[in-house]
Structure formats: C-alpha cells, structure tokens
C-alpha cells in the first residue's frame, strides 16, 4: 500500500518534470522553473567535489547556462533531468581539473579531489533537501541561518546587523536548526526516499544528441 503510493508520487514527479522540460524547450524563459527545482541539488553536488564556495558558484552557473543553451536538445527517454545536469557538471569538473593541472603543473593536480570519485548521491540529495527546507523557515530564523552559514558571519555581526541581542540570535539559530532537524527527520522517513536520483541515474544519462 505504502509502496504504491510512493511509486505513483514519483510517477507524478516525473510527469511534472516532463511538463517543465517541454515548457522550457518551447519557451526558454520558462527554464527558471527547472532551475528552481534543481538548483540546490546541482550546487550540493558540485560543492561536494570542489569544497570552495566561489568555484562552486562559478561551476553551478556554468552548468545551468549550458543546460539552458542546450535545452532544446535534451531528450528525456525516461532519464531524470537532474541526471543530465549531473552529467554536465561532471564534464565541467573534469575540464576544470584538466585545465588546472595543465596550468599549475602536476604538483597542484596531485592534491585535487578526484572528479570521478562519486559523491554519495544520497548525501547530495539530503543536503539539497536541507537547503530547500531553509527557504521554508520563518523569515527571522531563515535570515539568521543564511547569515550565519551562507554569509559566514559571527553571532556578534548578525546581532549588530539585525539590531538584536546576541542571545536572541543564538535562540533563532537554535530554533532554526532544530526545525531543520525535525523536518529532515520526517523527510528521511518518506519524502527523501523517493526523491533520490541514485548513482545509477547519473551513470545512465547521456549527453544530448550532439
């Protein structure tokens, strides 16, 4: 009973995604819907391999710009859109490391992360899920979490900017993180399982025709 519901939900997801892809192919301005649905995933995937915010941002932008420019050539053939994005990302990562090793010699290339070492897809998906949950937190909690982690600010800096006491900021941080933990706990029970684009998918995906 539970399994069938999950299955039909994932079929509905796939159908939704197909519609989004078709809309974007007809009208590239609609691509932003695909972007919204996949941004966190792609970012988390890339960051799991570069561990540097500005590189991750550059590469994430490149992946989506490449995908948008080539959206008309994407054929789903049952492969999730995310898998195609992962494929583009992998290629970009390889390119980047090859360039880096050419430019900096083998010494630099030696301590690079191996772009072919697969980041655990469940872990990537879990992080993406977490990032999406942050956006649903009450505004004040979300702001504190974003300032603390994305903008890497100290409690004192945040307190100063938001005109609150350090204690209040710590409280908001605590409440935000606790809410995220609760939601992640619930998600791993049901939601997260059907949303994982497994290792298989990334391997199965092909480049668009050409």
């Amino acid at each position: 009973m539970k399994a069938t519901r999950k299955e039909s939900a994932s079929q509905a997801d796939a159908a939704d995604e197909r519609l989004l892809v078709e809309a974007a192919q007809k009208d590239p301005a609609r691509f932003t819907e695909l972007y919204e649905a996949n941004f966190e995933r792609v970012y988390a995937f890339i960051l799991s391999r570069v561990r540097n915010r500005s590189d991750a941002e550059d590469l994430t932008a490149e992946v989506f710009q490449h995908a948008l420019a080539n959206i008309k050539r994407f054929e789903s053939r049952g492969v999730p859109f995310a898998a195609w994005l992962y494929r583009i990302a992998s290629n970009r990562l390889s390119d980047r490391w090859q360039r880096a090793s050419r430019e900096q010699g083998t010494a630099a290339a030696d301590d690079r992360p191996d772009p072919h070492a697969r980041a655990n897809p469940e872990e990537v998906e879990r992080r993406a899920q977490l990032f999406r949950f942050v956006a649903t937190l009450p505004a004040d909690q979300r702001r504190v979490i974003e300032m603390r982690f994305a903008e890497e600010k100290s409690i004192a800096e945040i307190a100063r900017e938001l005109k609150r006491t350090a204690g209040a900021i710590k409280q908001l941080q605590f409440r935000g993180i606790r809410a995220l933990r609760d939601r992640m706990g619930k998600a791993s029970g049901g939601d997260a399982q059907r949303k994982k684009p497994a290792k298989k998918l990334a391997a199965k995906s092909g480049e668009p025709n050409g």
């Binding site: 009208d27 301005a29 915010r53 994430t60 710009q65 959206i71 977490l130 505004a139 974003e146 204690g167």
Partner: protein
C-alpha cells in the same frame, strides 16, 4: 497588522523554559563555532555526543551540512541571469561573457521597465492630481511623469524611495469621471513620526498613532481622503527598509489569505516567504515574493477590510503569464497586446476582485518618450487600459519577410515579433507553422501597425482596404513608393491630383494595398 503570538503561561515555567533554552542554544552555538572555525577538523561524532546534551547530537549532522548552504543572493542573481538569457529570442546565441551578463542582470532585468520593480501599485482617485499632491507632500514623492488622456483623465507616475507608484483618475473641471480604486500600502520611511504628522496635516485621518512593534519596526497608519491605507513604518536595522522589501510594498486584506497566496503562486510564480497564523488558522501576516517584489497581506479584521485594487506587474513573458493567471482562476480583462509606450500589456481580474495589468517591456524608449508631455499633444490615457487604433496586416506565412521589407522601405523598425511556438499551447498552429509569426509590431516614429501570419488555410487577401501613408516630403514619397512597389503591382503611378502633390496606389509583393499621399502645402 501583525500579531505576536501571545503566550499565556505563568512566569515560573516560562523562566525555567527560557533557561533551558538558553543553555541549549549556547551549547549549539559552540558546536557551530567549532564546525565553522575548523571546517576540515575531523569530527568524532561520539565525542560530540558525549560532550553535549545528547538531544543535540542529531543536530550536528544538520549543522555540518549547513556549512555548504548556498548564498541566497547568488541563487537569485543566477536566476535573473538565466531569465534574461532565456528571454532572448534564441536561447543558444547568448552565452558570451558570463560575468558581463551577470553584471547586467544584477543591474536590471530587461523586461522590467527601468526604475520599476515587478509589482507596481496603481491607485485611482476621483481627483488624481490631489492624490499625487498628497504623496508628494507627505512622502516627498518625486513626480516622474504626468500625462492626460483624450477623455481628460490623468496618469501619473511617482517615486518614493526605491519604488514607483502609478496614480490616475479624474481631474477637477474635466468631463472624465473616475471611481476611487484604493489599496493598502506598506511604506518604509526614515522617520515614521514626521511622515505621520505630515499626513494628518495633509488631510489624512489616523488609523493608528506611531508605536514600536515587537517585529522590529516603528509603525503608524493613516487613511487618505480617497480611502487608501498607508502603513508608514521605519525598520529598526541597518537600513530603515528591511531586507527583501522595498520602500513601497502592496498590502492586501483578503477575507481568507490561503486562496490569495495560492493564486499568487500559480498566476505569477509567487513564492511564499512567511506566514504567521494563529492556532485557529487566521493569517495575521504573510509575505509572497513575486519577482523582485514582495506582496504582503493580513486577513481582514476590524477596519482592515478587502479593497479590490489595481496592480501593474512586469513579467518576462506577458502572454504566458496572462494564460497562467487565467488558468489559476482569473478572468481575462484584456488580451495581451503591444502598446505604443513600449510595453506589451494584458490584464486579468483575480477571483478576489483585484485587477492585474501584466506587462513585458518590449522596447526601452529613449527618455524623451517617457518624459512628461505637453497636455495637448499627450497620447497617454488615464488608466493602463489604452485606446489605440492602428491597422493589423495579415499574411500567408510571409509576415516576417514582409516586416523586414518594410523596415527597409519605410525606415522604421520592428518593435516586437513573436512566433507561434512561443505562444501558449502554440495557439493550435501545426508543426510546420510554428516558426510563423503570431504577432508583430512595427513602429515608425509614433506610428504603429501590427501584423501576423494567418493559420494555414485561413488567409484572405485584403479587399476594400488600404494602408494610407501621408507625407509632406515629395522626395521621400517617391522613394517609399518605388521601394514598396518592388515585385509588387502599381495600380496608379505616383502623380499629381487635384488634392495632392503626389498620390499613387500599389499592392506590394506581400499583397498589402498602400496609398501614398503627399499633400500640397497649404
């Protein structure tokens, strides 16, 4: 407007509760500090678990993952960039220099008229100039445009801080009559008290004297002579305008917030940012992001009752959004059409009575064209609903070629051109017709005509109809006549007549009949 949830607990458990929370939040912060400070330090999870309250242990994983949280500004900037890239006719041509295009995207999203945000309130008053005067006196608004319609109505545009407002309505002493169309606005100003005082002096009545609110702002409320509610506020923070909001934000008071939030999501791809509801489900305050704007709302109560209002919304594809809004339950008020002021505009009425004028900027007019014009010559109308009159030419699949031909002959330019494949559900065009033109607009100075390709089998040659072109310069008349005649049929060569210096008729190679008329100087 906003209610803090009131907790009615006795002070003792409350205090204990707070102390527990204090220690927990302090402990958690130590973990955060460690994880942020030494990103590569190996984390022994069991050690962490022993060191701290075991209840916090499960949280550690969340904190570690949060270190990778993407910067929200980056996400928004990239989205704007992709939107821009996607809205260019051919998505493949524009990769170019990414950084350069990111910079432009951050500066302005091209489909939004310069200086505007996504949502602009449109206030209509029986005495339009008086309302504009009120905004200038009270908020120090800057008037950037004022024009008058042929019926005598006024259309004005003003700026408060970083936001634009449109205002219109009747003008005393003129025929044109206008009903008030009011709304509530949340306006951030540097000094709430001073603005509140000025508003009362300018004839507004108080809804609420200035006071500090626990959500971090000082606020007051007034109602102007035409019934608009102005929620004046000063945010306590680095800036008097809070992050994400603008100087002027529209504020709705629906009977029920849920359906309105749902409509904004479906019609305008809105994103719910916040919702504060009491346990009985009443929404005291909610925020929905629509493009670069935030629409705020609080469910109707007391003096705060629904005011069906009017909004002007810039979107990247007016035809798609118009269709989307109708699918979300709105009624079409105006099918999207190109307007001489450089916007393509459509309109809908939502299920709650609000009117949304949806527009895409199709042309960046030079400043001269958007500057205030002389009353007599102004072609601006009193409201966003324009009355326009120009010919629409129909072609049998050659619209694009014809318009390019006209660009050369008439030395005008194509303002807008859209193929069937870019319209909602292709407008039933068969596959081989998708690249044909569903709508195009041609401009020559102030003159406009539009054109399209008829669907296959539906084309009819124009009969009993011609486009007349009046010129004063005989040299230019000759040039245009011979240019248009190329591969076409001259019916009456250009010649002197009893009324004209030069007059001639022809049917061009695309089947359009033209009259070229160069009158004798008076």
């Amino acid at each position: 407007m906003r209610n803090a949830r009131s907790r009615q607990r006795s002070w003792l458990p409350n205090l204990v509760n707070q102390m527990v929370k204090q220690t927990q939040s302090e402990q958690l912060n130590q973990i955060v500090e460690r994880l942020l400070g030494h990103p590569d330090a190996p984390l022994s999870r069991s050690a962490e678990q022993r060191a701290f309250d075991p209840k916090l242990a499960t949280v550690i994983e969340v904190v570690r993952d949060l270190r990778d949280l993407p910067h929200p500004e980056f996400k928004a900037r990239l989205k704007a960039d992709l939107e821009k890239q996607g809205s260019q006719v051919d998505g493949e041509s524009s990769l170019g220099d990414r950084r350069a295009s990111m910079a432009t995207a951050a500066k302005a999203v091209s489909y939004i008229r310069e200086g505007f945000h996504t949502v602009t309130p449109y206030l209509v008053a029986s005495d339009g100039p008086a309302l504009i005067e009120f905004a200038k006196q009270v908020f120090g608004a800057e008037e950037t445009y004022r024009g008058f319609g042929s019926a005598g109505g006024v259309h004005g545009e003003i700026r408060i801080g970083d936001s634009m407002l449109m205002m219109g309505g009747g003008v005393p002493g003129r025929e044109f009559r206008s009903q008030n169309k009011t709304q509530a606005l949340h306006v951030y100003v540097p000094d709430t008290d001073a603005v509140y005082e000025r508003a009362l002096r300018a004839g507004a009545t108080s809804i609420g004297a200035p006071q500090d609110h626990d959500y971090g702002e000082r606020g007051a409320g007034v109602k102007d002579a035409f019934g608009n509610y102005w929620y004046i506020a000063t945010h306590k923070g680095e800036s008097y305008v809070p992050q994400q909001l603008h100087s002027v934000n529209v504020y709705l008071h629906p009977l029920r917030g849920g359906p309105v939030i749902d409509f904004l999501k479906r019609a305008f791809d809105g994103e719910e940012l916040a919702r504060y509801a009491s346990p009985d489900g009443v929404i005291h305050h909610a925020q929905v992001r629509v493009g670069t704007s935030v629409v705020e709302m609080g469910e109707a109560h007391g003096v705060y009752q629904p005011m069906p209002s009017m909004f002007f919304v810039y979107v990247n594809n007016v035809d798609a959004v118009h269709a989307q809004a109708v699918a979300a339950g709105a009624t079409s008020l105006q099918v999207p059409a190109s307007q001489p002021y450089g916007d393509r505009v459509g309109a809908v009425t939502d299920p709650f009575g609000n009117q949304w004028y949806v527009a895409t900027r199709t042309e960046a007019l030079p400043p001269a064209e958007t500057q205030p014009r002389d009353e007599q010559t102004s072609k601006q109308q009193s409201t966003a609903a324009h009355v326009q009159w120009y010919p629409h030419l129909t072609f049998d699949g050659q619209c694009e070629a014809a318009f390019k031909f006209y660009e050369q002959c008439l030395r005008g330019k194509i303002l807008f051109m859209m193929t069937y494949e870019n319209t909602p559900s292709d407008m039933q065009a068969p596959a081989h017709w998708r690249k044909k033109i569903s709508h195009a607009t041609f401009a020559l100075g102030e003159l406009r005509f539009s054109g399209s390709d008829a669907l296959p089998g539906r084309y009819q040659k124009p009969q009993g109809f011609a486009v007349q072109f009046n010129l004063s310069d005989p040299v230019e008349a000759k040039r245009i006549f011979s240019a248009l005649a190329e591969n076409g049929t001259v019916q009456m060569p250009l010649q002197e007549t009893f009324w004209a210096l030069l007059f001639g008729t022809l049917v061009d190679q695309f089947g359009i009949p033209w009259l070229i008329n160069c009158e004798k100087p008076a």
